[in-house]
């Protein structure tokens, strides 16, 4: 699935699987060069970065959270990669050809790539066998991986030579090339060559082709990575990356201030002012392709009326909440696509805050103020339940929810808030559909596919259209958008979808928050990929004088 409900802040942020494709891919071949990079920048130094929690597994197949995702980004490579300008660039494949009908892709692999050596062994060469192996192990029924559903469009992966791989698709799809960025693992890696489980040794001591090699994982899940001297793009500048787990975000910020770590990958909004005021550190924003929302259960007849949903949105002051609870670090949004993605329609403006309009809409929908100020219709009070998952760091969320309740009280709508434990909340919302309003966030990839959120075929147990929203026009546009192979046409369809859903308000779309990474000034040339984070980390460096 392309979307994930993300709610328990960082650790629960799900992995997102495909990548933006902007502009045409160029088959540019980077000449092979041995270590070092030879770009005149110094090698050496250590980067200690903090994670809020510990990674579960370190291989790119069984892992499904962002902490692991960031580490696999350092250890592994895909056939293709993404550069700073979001363009597809060669990685393990040095060039490729696509058939005219867009169903067959032939990849010509680099011949100078070696797997990280296991202790005591010579490094083995990377070949076409590894690519076929990776695909097969990923699709094996006993391998549990979020990748499987993402690659169902592939019919088969075949080796036609030691360094040539042919990938045949079931049907041509738009942006297929970007999807071949999945990480390749070595055939000699996993102990079980059939399928990969979390119990396999490979899941915690993986070897890859990437700029960094796993050295050790300490008793507490501190992950130590060292530069791969034989990296095919040239040895990475910084000698060592150390991922240090923290159980408390405030302590993490203190650790940065105290130079116990050099980088926080995601700063808690509450700690931003503190870091901002310190000249030793750089705060770097990056886009997260995610947003928060209140979702409605339209099975409730009160909420089936579009005017009620519009009234709720009009009654809450989203900008004020964003400013007060998140220091204004984000943008209020109007529709269902990830802000910052190509599908987002900037011409649709977020509904303005208007308590009078909210009242007018409710009166138009047949409601009258009751004796206690709560709106009524046919003797029935406009009273709704709101279910919110308990988050690890939930202060901001709590404030949002209470503010929401307060705004709606002013508009004559009574909200009963119920905080629920994560798993219990998921069952209430996605299985039992026992809620009126829910609060959550989605994290997206850039395929801008919202079909699982709003298509009526996605109503059901554990499906993502939890609110039971159904609109034939939306269904039609979603299908049309999925089938088209023309990027511009798809964009037009998505803009229309955006406008309709902004009007229909199956959610009250709230905001996208800006993510900030904080790091010590000694780190130079830091480029950050929105969710893989370390994609360009082999270019980062620390000046010799500050390596200590």
């Amino acid at each position: 699935m392309k979307h994930n409900y993300q709610s328990r802040s960082e650790e629960r942020m799900k992995r997102i699987l495909t990548i933006a494709l902007l502009g045409a891919a160029t088959a540019l071949c980077i000449p092979a060069h041995a270590a070092p990079k030879g770009d005149g920048r110094p090698d050496g130094g250590v980067l200690n970065y903090s994670e809020y929690g510990r990674p579960a597994t370190l291989d790119p197949i069984t892992s499904n959270e962002t902490i692991s995702l960031r580490i696999t980004e350092l250890v592994f490579n895909g056939l293709v990669g993404i550069d700073e300008k979001q363009e597809i660039v060669p990685e393990l494949a040095e060039r490729w050809e696509a058939s005219k009908d867009g169903r067959v892709y032939t990849f010509f692999l680099r011949k100078d790539v070696k797997w990280h050596p296991r202790e005591g062994d010579a490094p083995q060469p990377f070949t076409a066998d590894d690519v076929v192996f990776t695909y097969n192990i990923m699709m094996h029924p006993k391998t549990i991986t979020p990748l499987k559903v993402r690659y169902e469009f592939i019919e088969k992966v075949e080796k036609t030579g030691d360094y040539t791989v042919v990938i045949t698709l079931k049907r041509p799809i738009l942006n297929a090339l970007a999807k071949f960025s999945f990480k390749i693992i070595p055939r000699h890696g996993p102990a079980n060559p059939q399928y990969l489980t979390r119990e396999d040794r490979f899941a915690r001591s993986p070897i890859g082709t990437g700029p960094y090699m796993l050295q050790t994982v300490t008793g507490d899940g501190e992950v130590v990575l060292v530069a791969n001297p034989d990296y095919f793009k040239g040895r990475a500048h910084i000698d060592k990356f150390v991922a240090r787990p923290f159980a408390d975000q405030n302590i993490m910020a203190q650790a940065l201030m105290f130079n116990a770590i050099d980088m926080i990958v995601l700063v808690n909004p509450r700690n931003l002012p503190e870091v901002q005021g310190d000249k030793r550190f750089v705060l770097q924003p990056y886009n997260a392709l995610s947003y928060s929302f209140f979702g409605y259960n339209v099975r409730n007849p009160l909420l089936a009326d579009r005017r009620v949903r519009q009234a709720i949105t009009a009654a809450v002051n989203r900008q004020e909440m964003l400013d007060s609870f998140f220091n204004g670090q984000g943008t209020v949004i109007s529709g269902p696509f990830a802000p910052g993605s190509w599908a987002y329609n900037l011409d649709v403006k977020p509904l303005p805050f208007g308590p009078e309009r909210a009242r007018a809409l409710l009166i138009e929908a047949g409601f009258k103020p009751g004796g206690d100020g709560i709106m009524e219709k046919d003797g029935k009070k406009l009273a709704l339940s709101l279910k919110v998952p308990i988050e690890k760091e939930s202060e901001a969320v709590k404030r949002v929810v209470l503010a929401f309740q307060n705004y709606l009280k002013g508009a004559g709508i009574a909200i009963a808030v119920e905080f629920k434990e994560w798993q219990a909340w998921k069952e209430d919302v996605f299985l039992e559909h026992n809620f009126d309003i829910m609060f959550a966030s989605w994290v997206f990839d850039d395929s801008a596919d919202i079909s699982s959120l709003f298509h009526s075929a996605e109503i059901g147990d554990w499906k993502n259209n939890f609110g039971g929203y159904s609109n034939p026009e939306v269904d039609g546009l979603i299908v049309e958008s999925k089938l088209t192979l023309d990027h511009e046409k798809r964009r037009t369809i998505n803009r229309k979808l955006h406008a309709i859903l902004a009007e229909e308000q199956p959610y009250t779309f709230l905001w996208t928050l800006t993510n900030y990474s904080a790091y010590h000034r000694k780190l130079r040339r830091v480029q950050i990929h929105p969710y893989k984070f370390f994609s360009f980390a082999d270019e980062w460096f620390i000046p010799a004088s500050e390596q200590k």
């Binding site: 799900k14 992995r15 008793g219 408390d248 219990a424 069952e427 147990d461």
Partner: protein
């Protein structure tokens, strides 16, 4: 231990060990039942990142060979457990037993260290108060100890961290790091200090020990001993000191374990408490079961130790 005490002690031990086995079995059933009844499926953790469709989860269950019924699952777990295999963590795939042993050492260091510290503070105050009655010195010390015990341990932890950072310019947060740390030994002691002082055990230990010791010192046999000119402390030691100390220690182990969970969070201490916290969030039932059993065994062991001391001191008690 005198020879006469060995028979009653071993009898008592045999009986208590049998009870312990039953108790652990009971704990495992109850914990498993609660886990089963609690909302959420541990396998959803593995499926996080894709839509957790029931048919997908079912297929996965079959692929992994997980029995469908709860008693099937329990029986499978129990059977393996009898062979010393506690299964593998669902989240990390690591075998539970070695992992538990690894983090258990840290937690044991933390709890036993803090217990030792509590004793080190409580005993002199209590003994002094029992021997000399209320004096300005021991009243002040008792008040301080009571205040510290009343302080929530997480709050005290943060205060200590704050003081270390801002007053001493030190960063007392160990995390099993591979990096070389200055003052590493000191950082190691800080969490032990926090738990030892603020876990709430201190005040009760002082009160209990002082009461018991005062009571025993007023007993007839002590008066006789004193009259004879024999060593009062030697006579009072067993009943007035050894028994109350072991009593209160064994009674406080569960609270120490609870406090350890919090201290481990605050100080980034790689122990069982943090592991339990993570496992509970993920419904990682093999880990939760393992931790529950280890914690139960630990508490029981404390109890047993206390019984052994009590029976050895007073063999007649075992016949009651």
């Amino acid at each position: 231990m005198k020879l006469a005490a060995i028979r009653p002690v071993s009898l008592m031990l045999a009986r208590e060990l049998g009870i312990t086995a039953l108790l652990l079995f009971g704990v495992s059933v109850v914990v498993f039942a609660i886990l089963y009844l609690a909302p959420g499926d541990p396998l959803n953790v593995l499926l996080e990142g894709q839509s957790p469709r029931s048919e997908l989860a079912l297929g996965m269950r079959e692929a992994l060979g997980i029995p469908r019924t709860w008693y099937g699952q329990y029986a499978a777990w129990f059977g393996k457990m009898l062979q010393g295999n506690f299964g593998n963590s669902i989240r990390t795939g690591l075998p539970v037993l070695p992992e538990l042993a690894r983090v258990g050492v840290y937690t044991l260091t933390l709890t036993l260290g803090s217990l030792a510290l509590t004793l080190l503070i409580a005993v002199p105050i209590a003994v002094h108060a029992a021997a000399h009655g209320d004096t300005a010195g021991n009243t002040a010390a008792t008040i301080v100890a009571y205040v510290l015990s009343a302080v929530p341990v997480f709050w005290f932890g943060y205060i200590v961290v704050y003081v270390f950072i801002h007053t001493f310019s030190m960063f007392p947060l160990i995390s099993g790091t591979a990096a070389k740390q200055e003052h590493a030994w000191l950082y190691f002691l800080v969490p032990i200090f926090v738990l030892g002082v603020a876990s709430g055990t201190l005040s009760e230990m002082i009160r209990h020990l002082r009461e018991e010791l005062s009571r025993v010192l007023a007993e007839d046999y002590i008066r006789t001993a004193r009259a004879k000119g024999a060593a009062v402390w030697r006579h009072a030691f067993k009943e007035g000191f050894l028994i109350p100390v072991t009593e209160i220690m064994s009674a406080k182990i569960p609270f120490l374990l609870g406090g350890a969970v919090i201290v481990e969070q605050v100080f980034n201490w790689p122990g069982m408490g943090r592991m339990a916290w993570q496992a509970a969030q993920d419904r990682d039932f093999p880990v939760i079961m393992g931790i529950a059993l280890v914690a139960a065994a630990f508490v029981r062991l404390g109890n047993l130790l206390q019984r052994v001391v009590f029976t050895a001191v007073n063999p007649r008690a075992s016949r009651e």
